[in-house]
Symmetry: C2
Subunit: 458 residues, 2 copies
């Protein structure tokens, strides 16, 4: 039996009662966190464009909700739009060692299909866990060399979505393997867009969720895919990675819960900026510094941070600024947090640009060798009065060792929803209630579409 078959069997056979209760609770946390990110995409031009085309090419009504607009459509298009929306604000979760953002691909596909088929909350949660466990392991299998050129969330996300939807469709192990095959052969997403601050990031997650969903439905209908899409000599590993890690595919299945290793994002920026942001904040707080006290900042980073953030020298848009180490550190130094509101108001201000130019990245062997299992923050600040100050954070805020509480998550989600004018305080409260109670739901409920009077069918 191949590793891929073992992983497919695991995903197909996963049962709610096999999953530890703290992993279920964390899945609910991640779901709420995702809900906030999805609402935060409301009004963003790339998201609205994908929304417009979804209703041009897809049905105008259906069993599945689009969170940003409260409209309904088929599962394929609801997954497409919700996945685009939830990857816009750079607030969605991240699994460190796979460098995969699982929520933005797993929840859109699974929520849509659960709503389409009237599945229970327990079935929904089980499917989401299957998606996380598969996605993380495939991401670790493809490794760092894949991530150098490919946007892992776009590529691997297709398999994560297929695994989750496949579980919800009750695929058997063989069908699940075919779903993996059809997902892997649709997997796409290149980093080239970063250089131009182009809109591809939302397209990647949109397509990953929809294509993964499509792969699972194909498999349910008997459509076959390559049985060794990951390790085969013309498969993903061969074509899209220079060094794979086959053992990762089956790493402690059923005992290691990769989902619980997933980090929440505290800052609204690329996760590669967070360790340095928290380490800088540590120095600033311990030494009571003001931005103008700082002469120079050196961030000691892993290579992937340089690869992803290095090209962004003079960010032209908010979204690009989220990939500018200097901008993020500038916001943190001035406001203590680089959240959606700080970016909106200040990303292009002269003060922040001035701070940005004080920051540089240096490859650090210790940080680089710890990555991607650990994302260590190490920063050296030189002050104008000549001091050299060192900061270090081993668990950036949001990492499993320094996670967000339910109260902090609720606060984050409220902030995002109100920021995007996507829901009222009361509506968010109602959604939070539904999400904390999801494990007991007989049928996964509509979160917001039922509040749209046009949706009498929901």
């Amino acid at each position: 039996m191949t590793h891929t078959q073992t992983l497919a069997n695991f995903a197909a056979q996963l049962r709610f009662d096999q999953i530890p209760v703290d992993v279920i609770r964390r899945t609910e946390d991640l779901f709420l966190d995702w809900y906030g990110s999805a609402l935060a995409g409301r009004g963003a031009r790339p998201v609205e464009t994908i929304h417009k085309l979804a209703f041009e090419f897809g049905p105008s009504f259906g069993p599945c909700e689009v969170l940003t607009s409260r409209r309904t459509t088929s599962s394929f298009f609801a997954a497409l739009v919700n996945a685009a929306a939830s990857h816009f604000a750079e607030q969605d979760d991240l699994h460190n060692s796979s460098v995969l953002h699982p929520a933005t691909v797993v929840f859109p596909a699974t929520l849509a299909v659960a709503q389409s088929l009237g599945r229970s909350g327990k079935e929904f949660l089980t499917a989401c866990v299957a998606g996380y466990e598969v996605g993380v392991r495939v991401g670790e299998f493809l490794g760092r060399s894949h991530y150098k050129t490919f946007h892992t969330t776009g590529t691997v996300g297709t398999l994560a979505a297929a695994a989750a939807v496949g579980r919800l469709l009750n695929l058997d192990g063989e069908q699940m393997l075919h779903a993996f095959g059809s997902a892997g052969t649709q997997a796409a997403g290149l980093w080239q867009f970063l250089k131009d601050a182009a809109d591809s990031k939302q397209l990647h997650t949109a397509k990953a969720a929809a294509s993964g969903l499509f792969a699972a439905y194909l498999a349910a209908e008997g459509f076959t895919g390559a049985v060794d899409i990951l390790e085969g000599e013309k498969g993903m590993g061969a074509g899209m990675s220079d060094q794979t890690h086959p053992d990762k595919l089956v790493d402690r299945l059923g005992t290691r819960w990769a989902l619980a290793e997933t980090s929440f994002k505290y800052h609204a920026s690329c996760r590669h900026t967070h360790p340095a942001a928290d380490a800088l904040l540590q120095i600033i707080e311990r030494n009571a510094l003001k931005p103008d006290d700082i002469e120079r900042v050196v961030t000691h980073v892993h290579q992937a941070a340089i690869d992803v953030l290095g090209p962004v020298v003079n960010p032209q848009t908010i979204h690009q600024a989220k990939f500018s180490m200097g901008t993020v550190l500038g916001l943190v130094s001035a406001y203590g947090h680089a959240g959606v509101r700080e970016f909106d108001a200040h990303y292009a201000s002269p003060d922040i640009a001035r701070f940005r130019d004080k920051v540089r990245m240096e490859l650090d062997p210790e940080v680089d060798s710890a990555y991607p299992a650990r994302w260590v923050g190490k920063v050296t600040v030189t002050t104008k009065d000549g001091r050299t100050l060192e900061g270090r954070v081993d668990d950036p805020k949001g990492d499993p060792g320094n996670t967000l509480s339910r109260a902090e998550l609720e606060h984050k989600v409220r902030t995002l929803a109100l920021y995007a004018d996507a829901a009222t305080e009361a509506e968010v409260t109602e959604s939070i209630g539904k999400i904390w109670a999801i494990a007991e739901a007989k049928v996964v409920p509509s979160l917001l579409a039922s509040r749209n009077p046009e949706n009498r069918h929901v």
Copy 2:
């Protein structure tokens, strides 16, 4: 200006009156040939599955026809299904040096959008030419190392479809560049499925046509893509090829018409089998051999033939048999042609299996170095009575130097349509009339959907 920008400008600015009349006539030939291939997919399990899901996830009615069922839907789903259908029978066209099957991705997307927007026949033909010219050049750019792992028609086909639809949407050069960016970052399709005779091939073309169409519509709405998706350091060339050929991207734009270099398929099998099939036929005809006279056949082939056909040792399905060199030569030796009917009736017969086991492939340096610009057929037959006979074909039937006449194309299309029970003789005749007159059509007409009484809206 980058090569990609130059190519995008060419596609955006191409005008009907710039295209030589023989190239227009050949476009009509290729369109008719494609129509036959699309009908030939009717009833094929993978095609019907994609059809079923298209109507589950997409609208039940729309301005665009699905040829196999005569139903209508949105352009996205019509492109998806027609592209799946037209790549099933292994009868669709092939451009040699790019190893791209352009028709199966270009025509579905362009026909659907032309029907959706009510475009003229001239606009339709111009857009199709743009799609072929772009697709071929991108395929040549990515080269042989890409084709080793990736199904070029799936990957590059996404850009070809985007270019064609982009032209139909009247994108300007900059928008076209963004369409290329959004297409390239969706490009996918791995050869791994061949080993299992899995159904991915139709999924690849379906997704290429639909994703390319989506990319062009995104660009029309202002959605941006990477501006250097081909040559950029995290683009398709970097991630999906070991050796690119940048000059090919702009090779004689406006004077070299790559569309006219496209080959029609005479046999209903993988094109890599055709040169050897024709060379064997030459030996058989010249020497009046019967299959049982033959002791052994050595085909002298290019490496890609070994890569694609080599894994198929004991084909289990008709579709897999189309990738078995021995099966194809067996059919040719017994029936003089490996067409859809010969495959259906005899692919699994003991006689053919016995012949199959007499055939082996050997890498030939001369054939390999001519490839992919030329697909040379070289075969050595050893007869049971001890003779050694050599056959050689420099232009396999269907290649530009040995092309099919309009009468031969009409015959091929009738055969395919009747074979699949997809249209009557009279209906095919009517469609042929519409296609030969397409350049004068004020609006691209429905080919078959108007004959479905449920489609009063067409």
